[in-house]
Amino acid sequence: MTYSVQFGDIWPSIRVSLLSEQKYGALVNNFAACDHVSDELEQLHARDFVNKAHSHGELEPESGQTAAPSPASWACSPNLRCFTFTRGDVSRFPPARLGSLGVMDYYLMDAASLLPVLALGLQPGDTVLDLCAAPGGKTLALLQTGCCRNLAANDLSTSRTGRLHKVLHSYVPQDVRDKSRVRVTSWDGRKWGELEGDTYDRVLVDVPCTTDRHSLHEEENNIFQRSRKKERQMLPMLQVQLLAAGLLATKPGGYVVYSTCSLSHLQNEYVVQGAIELLSNQYNIEVRVEDLTHFRKLFMDTFSFFPSCQVGELVIPNLLANFGPMYFCKMCRLT
């Protein structure tokens, strides 16, 4: 199969991980206002990998920079705390509980899903668009940063937007939702160039994909259903259109992160390159891919990265760190 060709010698270790139980991270809910959550998680011998990455980064300053402010391209979105068990530890987190203020204390997710949000590098006061927001893990993370002046969360599917609402209600108090001007819509993401062109500081395009790990284990809603064969074959085109729309909706100088949870370079690098080409040819808009090498190094202890992506980064599942697959690529809209 193509994956064994694409990955060669490391394919077996990816394969066995995909077929085995995945690892989760606990995204601490800043709005639950309970500091003891971190303590409790630490007592379980889990560690905040974001914090670990930052201290890791501080120990290795890049090319002689001392007190210089971190370049916008690789600064991480702030205020995110996510606990994971160490490499080789297969413990599970207890289910999240309702904390004070009537919201849940942490959100269990694939820890690799946090990386696209971290890479987007939100800054306070940003106008943010989450183009394919459901089921809402990354949307929640965007809100956790506390940086969103406006957050537009969209998903084509109304049933999935329902789940998004549920997540927001369970985790984010009403006043915060109001303050961040969270707007949830169920429109066609491909239209965003026309709907809200040149509008956003940061855009996340977490596209529908073959959801590799999910498809191997869950029957429900599986994109490999016979009835969805056409849909599956059209995915790369849809993905290009969504990314293009996201880029069009970005202000010049703004940033976009494209992400999938598939291993396929047809859904990953090809789409990035296709969208950039489309914007250049059809709209005369220049887009630059951001180098995430430094960013990747920050998180190498926690995640296993594929070393040979042409553009972007790919977290590959590994038995010791069974997160992902998660592909992400950061772009800057220049013009």
Binding site: P12, L19, G88, V90, D212, S215, E218, L320
Partner: protein, 407 residues
């Protein structure tokens, strides 16, 4: 994390299979390659047609199994050997039916049964001859000390309890009055007759915890009759004294079952030494191993015997095989016995040390394998839990089968 098809697969070929298959199986086909697709269904129904590929197994397991359609499950051990079971029942029935047994008529019967079981080695002949001598002496009542004149009815009663003739006769040697020492002497003499040296006899009699002398003799006699020579018997029993605790009937049943599986004589000796558990373990556990090897690994019957498959624990087999399978380095053969990749040999999977397995067969690391074992153990635990808490239509046999599937 089971791959469950919502409907049973058809058997018309892989296109048809993919057509009907659940989406997640199609996902596997696309994302992982073919093997998961095959394996996910193999355990359910295809292998009940396995007679074409592995003809010898149905003979052992009972004809009914080979003809089963639509994924019928493993029977319990009683039905596994229907032919043998009915013979045994007949014998007991016949014995009960008789009011009076002529003691002398029993001798030819016992001699016949012994000669049937006895392989033609020199020492075995001697052992058999000595046993026969015991039988004839018993009948004349002469050589046994203190044995009261036996009534025929007593022997009928002995038979009714289903014990073997050998054991009955040995029990007859029990000295009713002065207990221990004369029984011990008898045992010593019997052992010497069977070909054990003085040294052997000393060793055997000093095994702790020490069994009743008659029990000791019964088990030893059985092993001799199975074709194991005195020296290996001695070594094996010293190493695994728990064998001496086995009821002789269990020994009979088990050795007969093992022979049906193709494990007899020379093989048995090896098994006795390296893995005496095949005598003490529950037959259900042997079945589990055999079933796993056959259905999940596509290891045919004769290869199972040749590679001494039973010496490995089901845990080790499952761990190493499932690891290879999920790595994509082992495929369950299809109906035609074919795989896309050459599977590693059984010896390279199970016989080698873990380090060698990892470096030469799995091409993986100790760390990853450790994590994998933990995850697998948890999967299996949750599988059996979810079955016990009531999968309504699941029969007991399916539980056994499901334990062996991964996802």
């Amino acid at each position: 994390m089971l791959v469950r098809s919502p409907c049973p697969p058809t058997c018309d070929g892989w296109e048809a299979l993919a057509h009907e298959a659940a989406a997640q199986l199609v996902a596997r086909l696309h994302l992982l390659g073919d093997s998961e697709l095959r394996r996910g269904h193999a355990a359910h129904s295809d292998w009940s047609h396995g007679g074409t590929r592995f003809p010898s197994l149905p003979l052992v397991m009972g004809r009914a199994e080979a003809q089963d359609q639509g994924g019928r499950k493993w029977r319990n051990e009683e039905a596994l050997l229907p032919a043998q079971e009915s013979k045994r029942r007949d014998r007991t029935m016949a014995a009960r039916g008789r009011q009076v047994l002529d003691w002398h008529r029993l001798i030819p019967l016992s001699w016949a049964s012994i000669s049937r079981q006895t392989p033609h080695f020199g020492e075995q002949k001697r052992a058999t001859a000595s046993l026969l001598r015991k039988l004839t002496t018993a009948s004349s009542g002469g050589a046994l000390k203190g044995l009261p004149h036996v009534q025929p009815r007593k022997y009928v009663q002995e038979l009714e309890c289903g014990t073997s003739l050998t054991q009955c006769l040995l029990e007859k040697q029990r000295a009713p009055v002065d207990g221990g020492s004369s029984a011990r002497e008898e045992v010593i003499s019997s052992l010497l007759d069977m070909g054990f040296t003085d040294v052997h006899v000393q060793e055997l009699l000093s095994i702790q915890p020490s069994p009743h002398p008659q029990q000791l003799l019964a088990i030893i006699s059985k092993l001799i009759l199975l074709g194991v020579n005195p020296e290996p018997v001695c070594v094996a029993l010293k190493k695994s004294p728990q064998l001496l605790k086995l009821p002789i009937m269990h020994m009979e049943k088990r050795s007969s079952y093992l022979r049906k599986l193709g494990i007899g004589e020379g093989k048995l000796k090896r098994m006795l030494y390296c893995c005496p558990e095949i005598f003490t373990m529950h037959q259900r556990d042997i079945d589990r191993i055999v079933k796993y090897a056959y259905f999940r690994m596509g290891v045919n019957h004769s290869d199972m015997v040749r590679t001494d498959f039973l010496q490995y624990s089901i845990t080790k087999i499952r761990q190493r095989h499932t690891f290879l399978e999920r790595l994509g380095r082992y495929q369950t053969p299809d109906k035609k016995g074919q795989t896309q990749i050459p599977n590693p040999l059984v010896k390279d999977i199970l016989r080698v040390s873990e380090a060698e397995f990892l470096s030469k067969t799995a091409y993986s690391t100790a760390e990853e394998f450790e994590v994998f074992k933990k995850l697998l153990a948890r999967e299996e635990e949750e599988e059996s839990e979810s079955h016990m808490s009531g999968d309504k239509s699941t029969s007991e046999e399916e539980e056994e089968e499901e334990e062996e599937e991964e996802l």
